[in-house]
Amino acid sequence: MKTIIFIIQKEFRQIFRDKGMLPIIFILPLIQLLILSNAASFEVQNIKFSYIDHDHSAASRELISKFQASKSFKIVNQFNTKEEANIEMQKGNVDIILEIPTHFERNLITEKATTLSVSINAIDGASAGVENVYISQIIGTYNQKTQSQLFQYNDGTFVSPQNIVTIPSFWYNNTLNYKTYMVPGILVLLVTMITLFLSSMNIVREKEIGTLEQINVTPIKKHQFIIGKLFPFWILGLVILSIGLLIAKFVFNVPMLGSLVLIYAFTSIYLLVILGIGIFISNHSDTQQQAMFIAWFFMVIFLLMSGLFTPIESMPHWAQNITLFNPIRYFVEIIRMVMLKGATFSDITTQFSIITGYAIVLNTLAVLSYKKVN
């Protein structure tokens, strides 16, 4: 135990002495949390809308005004021909082209049916899907309105249709604020990234400098060395988490429905998993460059397979199974459940036991992979 304290003391001294590293450890993640949380949103806004009105009628103007009124659309241009419009779309200046045919209004009244054509720039498939839904909603409401207006002219045929009304109700986040969703997730990611990178570079760095050999000729026990190495980063992780939670609370107003103790308890175990992975990588690398590369490889996979940005439910089955091995997945899931939904310990026992198992296996591997003898 005493020996461990000496290692911890030394590690802390080295961390705080490196003036180049300190801002990277503490400031960089927080700035990223502050800035990037605002950017990470799938909300589709400022859709660049343009139209070609061949009809110039009251009806066509009314339809266009509906788009004007919607806050998702931004009318950027009006074109005379489709060719003109297409060129602008090619350049990326326009997302939507609504083409209203000649005799739009007349057809609506006399032939009781008419056609609109809409072109969507679908280069970003996801946004295009959302834009499509918005457009059909606007045209749909316009449709219903004209129907009831026109019904009154020929009331003989009037039959009241049967209607199923959907009442949406958004729980836990009724304003659909994306930040409450992303801030905890990004925080998880930053905590993970900093601790994983630092720990995976740590031992291999001593290997490169030559000090590890000096340690290896001392009678220090493997577990003492690994624990002494882990502990400072463990503390670091918890400190970053705490600052991040404060920012979440006071800057982004993210609710904290569940128990803070639960979050800290989970993080404490989770950090052991990440640090275990880091030390394992470090022990198996010869240079810091190698270690970083491997750490980065896992980080990108962990990150994109974590459900942080894209829903896990939408992945194919085999990919969902892969995510079961991803520790970040559990942390992202849990921090959101606890903070936003007030999940209690009994709701997350499964994740808790998985991550604990993980921690035990990885840290055993970390200790075993540290070889004092070649």
């Binding site: 005493k2 290692i7 003391q9 001294r13 080295q14 050999e213 001392t218 026990k221 003898v373």
Partner: protein, 244 residues
């Protein structure tokens, strides 16, 4: 001289794949002597030392260091030895005091003991002015002396010095050897590798390693007689040339 054996090496071998770095060496080192371990670059000195200090597993053969088998009781060996590698291996980004505290700590010294040792060491080496400076800023010679003193912190029975004086000026080398003598005087055994042949003259006994084997082992005086030359340098050249 006390003839108690403190290191016994028997047929020690290390192979890396098909390459035999250390080829069945056998020798004894006696308590309290300064044992010179000589050889050209690549002769296998460092590999041999690494087996003796328990950070490299022998392929075959055995070695007892301070009474413990390096194969089975490497950790016990480590308690009894000190080691100073040819590459400076203190922490550059820690101060002198902090380095001493750290290494003292992992050898299991108490805080009080560390404090006492630190004061003494800094006084002996005349480092009062720079004790709180980063090690990075020290000249090489001072770093070397510091490493040696740190290797002695836990009062080991044997100290292994792997080319301790590489790259330092003659005056510092001289001072360094004075430190070695002083330590030997206290009864510590010193196991030194070097390729400065004048330094070999300072040893009680020297062994000369050529291509993984020990070609000669005796006191410098006897060796010079045997090969009928004036200096250790010539002994060395003769042995090395035989191989070519």
């Amino acid at each position: 001289m006390n003839q108690e054996k403190i290191i016994t090496v028997n047929n020690l071998t290390k192979e890396f794949g098909s390459f035999t770095a250390v080829d069945g060496i056998s020798f004894d080192v006696y308590k309290g002597e300064i044992f010179g371990f000589l050889g050209a670059n690549g002769a296998g000195k460092t590999t041999a030392i690494k087996m003796l200090i328990g950070i490299s597993k022998p392929t075959s053969g055995e070695a007892l260091v301070a009474g413990f088998d390096v194969k089975t009781h490497a950790e016990m060996v480590k308690k009894s030895i000190g080691y100073m590698s040819q590459k400076f291996s203190m922490y550059d980004d820690l101060t002198i005091k902090e380095n001493i505290t750290f290494f003292g700590g992992i050898y299991g010294l108490s805080r009080a003991k560390i404090k006492e040792k630190t004061t003494q060491l800094i006084q002996d080496l005349n480092l009062q002015d720079v004790a709180d400076k980063l090690v990075k800023a020290l000249p090489l010679g001072w770093k070397q002396k510091l490493s040696f003193s740190v290797a002695l912190l836990h009062e080991p029975k044997i100290v292994f010095l792997d080319e301790p004086t590489g790259g330092v000026d003659p005056i510092t080398r001289r001072q360094f050897w004075e430190m070695i003598y002083a330590e030997a005087h206290k009864g510590t055994t010193l196991f030194v590798t070097t390729h400065y042949m004048d330094e070999a003259e300072y040893c009680d006994r020297v062994s000369i390693m050529v291509e993984g084997k020990i070609e000669a082992l005796d006191s410098p005086k006897n060796l010079k007689q045997k090969y009928n030359v004036d200096s250790m340098n010539d002994v060395f050249l003769k042995l090395a040339r035989n191989v070519e």
